[in-house]
């Protein structure tokens, strides 16, 4: 009984804290934190699939998250005829050639007898492929970036609905994860961790520097958010004005809250669908097999389970879920800002803290951990300086006091670290332990 009561109580307590934020501070803030929390909850589900189900150590989360955002850009932004004429087909062709070169190298490595000749062939194919790729891609990229660089200068998208792009976001992240898994998944856990950290940094470097792809640090704005309405159009709608009047608030605040609530409903729906799927899979024969592999790889292999394939499968699935979260994030902000992903503490390690806190292996735990840590993280920004102001009250005004108050927001890092260490030490199975 206690095992079913405990999660309900915990979720009720967390909901109560979110309500307190709404009443005591403001509803826009509460909804901002909630929407952030729901997105990271989806991310935490993805990490939990990989780590909790299968014991795969992925700390390239930020990269797959960013790829999800790129998926939205490539699907939902309008078709850009000028760049298609300037060089987009040539870029695509260059990538096809590059992929073919890698494929040829892999084939050569696999089919030739181990010898010096094999090494030579692989190296030559790769180097030739690299230069051919640069030869094909470089002029086309230059041409695309030269097309109205102030506003676009990227290849644009396919002009499809933004909801469809979630699938594309998942697929893009899954594709990247497949490539990573093919090379690095055989590695021991901490090596896999370092390798994924590297992949994450490389993906983010690509997103930040390849202007032809997503305008890099110049950002892409105006990403669609259908079916959620825009604040501005709400403020102009007569029915909304009377609604705001009826609620007794000004139209601006009411529109912010309304839009935030719409997003929250949408995100909760996505989260619930993914959560249901994850729970169903966990309790299926497939889920049992995954956990058997995690707990004893050799025994599972001896029972005839294809450990390598299963690992590949779940790594790709988990990354796809993280990619979907990335799509939600870009949609929420209406903005693709690659630079913001360049913060592994926030977009990778924080997610890990959520999974560990909630209880690795438990999907509900991952969601709970996400909602708690996000609250802690976002509130540190608004409450942190006030708390430090209170603590430093007796101090004389001066540089030190100002420094302490200014860097109060940095205290959320040690706070999360402390939570993580305390959980690992005193309750290593997390708030809602795996059954």
């Amino acid at each position: 009984m206690t095992s079913t009561l405990r999660p309900i109580l915990l979720f009720a307590a967390v909901s109560a804290v979110y309500l307190i934020v709404g009443f005591a501070q403001s509803w826009p803030l509460c909804l901002t934190i909630l929407n952030d929390g729901l997105i990271v909850a989806v991310m935490a589900l993805g990490v939990n699939l990989q780590w909790g189900y299968a014991g795969l150590f992925n700390i390239g989360v930020a990269g797959f998250f960013g790829l999800g955002g790129l998926g939205v850009v490539l699907i939902s932004m309008p078709i850009d005829g000028a760049t298609w004429a300037a060089g987009t087909p040539r870029i695509l062709f260059a990538f096809a050639v590059g992929a073919a070169a890698i494929y040829a190298a892999v084939k050569a490595h696999r089919n030739m007898a181990p010898s010096f000749l094999r090494h030579l062939t692989v190296v030559i194919v790769l180097i030739a492929g690299f230069f051919l790729f640069r030869f094909l891609a470089d002029p086309a990229i230059e041409a695309v970036e030269a097309v109205t660089p102030a506003s676009t200068g990227n290849i644009g998208g396919l002009g499809l609905p933004v909801l469809l792009s979630w699938l594309a976001a998942g697929a893009l992240a899954a594709g990247a994860a497949w490539a990573v898994a093919k090379t690095a998944l055989g590695l021991r856990s901490d090596y896999l961790a370092i390798a994924t950290l590297g992949i994450g940094q490389i993906i983010i470097a690509i997103l930040m520097n390849e202007d032809w792809l997503d305008r890099g640090v110049k950002n892409i704005i105006g990403i669609g958010r259908w079916p959620v309405p825009r604040e501005v159009s709400l403020q102009q709608a007569p029915w909304f004005n009377s609604f705001a009047h009826y609620m007794g608030t000004d139209v601006r605040t009411a529109s912010t809250v309304f839009v935030g609530a719409c997003f929250a409903v949408l995100f909760v729906a996505v989260l619930l669908i993914l959560l249901t799927l994850a729970e169903l899979s966990l309790n299926s024969p497939w889920g049992r097999m995954m956990r058997a592999i995690r707990d004893n790889e050799h025994a599972a292999e001896a029972m005839g389970k294809d450990v390598k394939r299963r690992h590949l499968q779940i790594f790709v699935l988990g990354s796809a879920v993280i990619g979907i979260a990335g799509a939600l994030y870009v949609m929420l902000h209406g903005l693709m800002a690659p630079q913001s992903y360049n913060d592994p503490l926030r977009y990778t390690f924080l997610i890990w803290a959520m999974v560990i806190l909630g209880g690795s292996g438990n999907n509900w735990g991952a969601v709970l951990g996400a909602l708690i840590i996000m609250l802690l993280w976002d509130e540190a920004e608004s409450v942190g300086p006030a708390i430090l102001g209170f603590i430093t009250e007796p101090m004389a005004a001066g540089a030190l006091k100002q420094h302490l108050i200014d860097s109060a927001v940095q205290m959320r890092l040690p706070l999360v670290g402390l939570v993580l260490l305390l959980v690992l030490r005193f309750s290593p199975r997390g708030l809602i332990p795996e059954k």
Partner: protein
């Protein structure tokens, strides 16, 4: 003459920067490899340990500057380094007592310790940002150049100028001294030998009466010295910001893994392999080629295989290739 010019350009833009960067990586990788050898886990907090040590060194540098103490042409940070090492060692020992020791006693599996080190990483990162802020800081107050490009050109009559920065020389000299001291310690002293014995075979070492806690304590102190030194040297050479140091984790791990985790000699070799490949792949070779090739053969573009923004890709590729084809590293480290 043209060959000389090419040589000077090569020295200036590839060999000197890669040598000093390689020394910094080697010192960082030595710390990672020692922790792996003795404590048997991959320490993800190492980049932040370096950042913390450097932040403390900067604080002491400011203190000495305000007191008017300096080293003349050398940066004040060198004077601050011993103090930074002491503070970092205190922090690491405190962390060990408060955090790691519990798991050591429990004989927890390495992957748990890796996650624990993630928690420590958060705390150290926040601490560093809290102490010194997030902005880029330059704390090199010594003489900037030993050989000035302009004077070099005047003296030799070459078209290409050679600049040797003081920080490059300091990096290499300090690294050589530190490494020599480390190897002397590991190979010649009783404590060092017991450390190596502990690393090779824990049970045997315990049987022969080696005190494991003592070995661990000494290891953390050495790691603090290595991390703070590497951090300060990197900061003098480039600049200090907590985030850059966090990002150094990847090349440092690549260096340690390439050489073979747990193998100090391998860590040094790995540091230079990673540094030279990184600089070599991200350097625009056009300048060097322009002295060597006739105008008609000159290739278009910068002849830069990879943009500097992708330098991490180089460490990553090296890491993955080594792990796939020779998982124990070039020098046969511990891990299989």
């Amino acid at each position: 003459m043209d060959i000389l010019n090419a040589l000077v350009a090569l020295l200036n833009y590839v060999i000197i920067p890669a040598t000093s960067y390689g020394s910094q990586l080697a010192l960082g990788a030595l710390g990672v490899t020692l922790i792996y050898g003795i404590l048997r886990f991959s320490n993800f907090a190492h980049g932040d340990t370096m950042a913390f040590g450097t932040a403390i060194a900067i604080l002491f540098t400011w203190l000495f500057q305000s007191m008017g103490i300096g080293l003349g042409p050398l940066p004040t940070a060198l004077l601050a380094l011993p103090f930074a090492i002491a503070v970092t060692a205190a922090l690491l020992l405190l962390t060990d007592r408060a955090v790691y020791r519990f798991y050591r006693k429990k004989k927890a599996v390495p992957v748990i310790l890796v996650i624990v080190s993630m928690g420590v990483m958060f705390i150290m990162n926040g601490l560093t940002r809290f102490i010194i802020g997030t902005q880029d800081r330059n704390f090199d107050d010594g003489r900037r150049f030993i050989i000035n490009a302009l004077e070099f050109r005047k003296a030799t009559g070459l078209h290409e100028g050679l600049a040797l920065r003081t920080s490059s020389l300091i990096t290499v000299v300090t690294a050589v001294i530190v490494v020599a001291l480390l190897f002397w310690f590991l190979n010649r002293t009783r404590t060092g030998k017991s450390m190596r014995a502990f690393s090779d075979n824990e049970d045997l070492a315990l049987l022969s009466g080696i005190n494991p806690e003592r070995v661990v304590t000494v290891t953390w102190i050495i790691v603090a010295a290595l991390a703070a030194t590497a951090g300060v040297l990197y900061g003098l050479d480039k600049s200090f910001s907590p985030f850059t140091y966090f990002q150094l984790l990847l090349p440092i791990f690549a260096s340690a893994v390439v050489g073979g985790l747990g193998n100090p000699l391998g860590a040094i070799a790995g540091g230079f392999i990673v540094a030279f490949s990184e600089v070599g792949f991200t350097y625009a070779w056009r300048k060097v080629l322009s002295y060597l090739l006739p105008m008609s053969l000159m290739p278009h573009g910068l002849v830069q295989p990879l943009g500097t923004d992708y330098k991490f890709a180089v460490s990553f590729v090296i890491l993955v290739i080594v792990l796939l084809f020779r998982p124990t590293g070039l020098f046969r480290g511990k891990s299989a």
